[in-house]
Symmetry: C2
Subunit: 333 residues, 2 copies
DNA sequence: TCGAATGCCGCAATCGATTGCGTAAAGTCT
DNA sequence: AGACTTTACGCAATCGATTGCGGCATTCGA
């Protein structure tokens, strides 16, 4: 069964003895009671009755006429991922403040779903899109840009498109500097998805900084994979199988780090004594297990991703942004 | 800037030399090419051109006319919560199969937001709602029911409303039986949110089963709180402060359990030697850290929650459902 | 051969809000 | 007093899809 008693603009107007157009103009004027579309008295009557009847404009009718939905679509790899969920909260918060409505979909990092979900959002007439699952090389994004679809990226960047990300390269460098400073000389790298800029940049920063110290990572100890705990466990096993235990392991993501932690515990490897472990993102769980990590401003990335989309929609131009990370030292390294 | 070249029904019809109504009927007829609304030839031309031009119906125009949005709203306490995120995935999956579109919002378990988000969804003309954040006593739900709004509950039940949940009471009993069978005699209980049925039922099952063995939990060692890791840490500290360490601790939620695990590690308490620990839900993290837990069919709860909403919307009646839990024994207990 | 049945499709109203254009009344200015 | 500007609204078209009601043709049975 439906819900609303369906109080329409016309109904209000009828009851007020006014024309719907007048009521519409008054109700929509951002100047509120200072609107010039009716006399003081009329305006007050309109607001009062709208309030009393609980009038809500029908957004479908409005967007049919205006061709704007005030809805934006967000595509993330996985909602269960704390990091993206937090960014989404930031997006949604900013969107609400601007009178926008958001809708999320997850793509499971599968290119087909990435495309399908975005198209579905566009079918629903989203005014713009925000992607949290961009690949570094992403032909679909190029296609959308060509079609003139407004969108921005968060979390992961892709050359040629507007994005808000953490300065992952610098984050990777911080980890390397910290580990080197504490005397570590051999390393394992749980590298994440090699097609995502988060992985690429964090690894690059890490490796570049190590190289400046004349150090490096044995390729057999660089394990790519996903961003969740099981993937981290797998990667850790791979590193252990590659020979002697490295003095430190950098996982480009906290969940992967925690997965590795589980493997270490099972193997009787103590952290940080036998090997140091560093994650990335500073999720709450990292705090709970004492994981040293790099804090990325997830919520803010989301907010700015939305603001940037607003700029695009309003025809202002906008530059990609990289927000500074912060090293959080706990007990694991 | 927008996106679509805006190929409308009328445009298609014009190009085909047909009337928009004919095109509409053919395109919407579930019988597809067997529709009786046009000649075979005409039908083929319609489908071909629609395909070629990439026609997508404007859902706003359609729902304006039909007063159905084919959109349902979902309210969860927190998107970052793996459990609810998974249920949402189940909901969304089932919804897609039925041609429905879903929108999520989070309420942070705050009654004001619970209400506000739901109203916002209704303003957007959702055909129905699914709540994952119901309180055991929830006046807002009663109000919605009275208003005739169609909704169902997932994860948490509330007497008098339709819900799909895990059989939490039985799950709680399983934990108690398992711990008692392995010789534990004193217990701590990380009880979660006392206004949520998940907490209430799991605790009740746990306590009832213990009572049948002549056992119980010291009230000072029953710590309520939230469902995340920090809340679990807090609760664990509270239990430790209550005196001698109990032989086992049951956390009604995996995240809380992991938070507790962090505190135990910090205090040098080993698991399961010094104390056993059991969680609830069987999130992937539980597997990674070897946590014994109760598996609840989260994804399926979501799916069924949606199916049940369909029943309500279609005027069929539906009974609340409780899905069976499964004890997953790992190393922590 | 005529009326009825059926097949195929168009007309026009409708959903609710928005907006360009128009207008009557009141106020301002010279 | 006449001309001009505001103020305060209303009319009617519009957005795109849906749908009740008909209408015109062809076919079939009698």
């Amino acid at each position: 069964m439906g819900a609303r008693p369906a109080v329409t603009l016309k109904a209000l107007a009828g009851e007020l003895g006014l024309n719907a157009s007048t009521v519409s103009r008054v109700l929509n004027d951002p100047k509120g009671l200072d609107s010039k579309w009716a006399s003081r008295d009329t305006k007050e009557r309109i607001f009062a009755l709208a309030e009393e009847r609980g009038y809500r404009k029908n957004p479908y009718a409005a967007s049919l006429r205006t061709a704007k939905s005030h809805m934006i679509g967000v595509v993330v790899p996985r909602l269960q991922d704390y990091v993206l969920a937090t960014m989404y909260e930031g997006i949604d918060e900013a969107a609400s403040e601007h009178g926008y409505f958001t809708v999320v979909s997850n793509s499971l990092d599968a290119p087909a779903a990435h495309r399908a979900k975005a198209e579905k959002l566009l079918d629903r007439r989203a005014d713009g899109l925000i992607f949290g699952d961009a690949l570094f090389e992403d032909p679909f994004l190029d296609e959308l840009a060509k079609r003139g679809v407004a969108f921005t990226l968060v979390s992961r960047r892709s050359p040629g498109h507007r994005s808000v990300t953490c300065d992952d390269y610098t984050g990777g460098r911080m980890v390397a500097e910290h580990l080197v400073a504490s005397g570590r000389r051999t390393f394992g790298l749980i590298a994440g998805n090699p097609r995502a800029s988060t992985s690429i940049d964090r690894c690059a920063g890490f490796l570049d900084a190590l190289a400046e110290h004349g150090l490096g990572v044995d390729p057999a100890r660089m394990a790519p994979g996903g961003f969740d705990a099981p993937a981290g466990s797998l990667a850790a096993e791979q590193i252990l199988a590659a020979g002697p235990l490295p003095e430190a392991v950098f996982a480009v993501n906290d969940f992967a780090a925690i997965g590795a932690l589980g493997v270490f515990a099972r193997e009787g490897i103590t952290v940080p004594e036998d090997t140091a472990l560093v994650g990335f993102n500073d999720t709450p769980l990292a705090g709970s297990v004492g994981l040293t990590t790099v804090r990325s401003p997830m919520h803010r990335i989301g907010r700015q991703g939305f603001e940037m989309l607003m700029d695009v929609l309003d025809g202002r131009d906008a530059e990609s942004i990289q927000l500074p990370p912060e090293l959080i030292v706990r007990t694991s390294a």
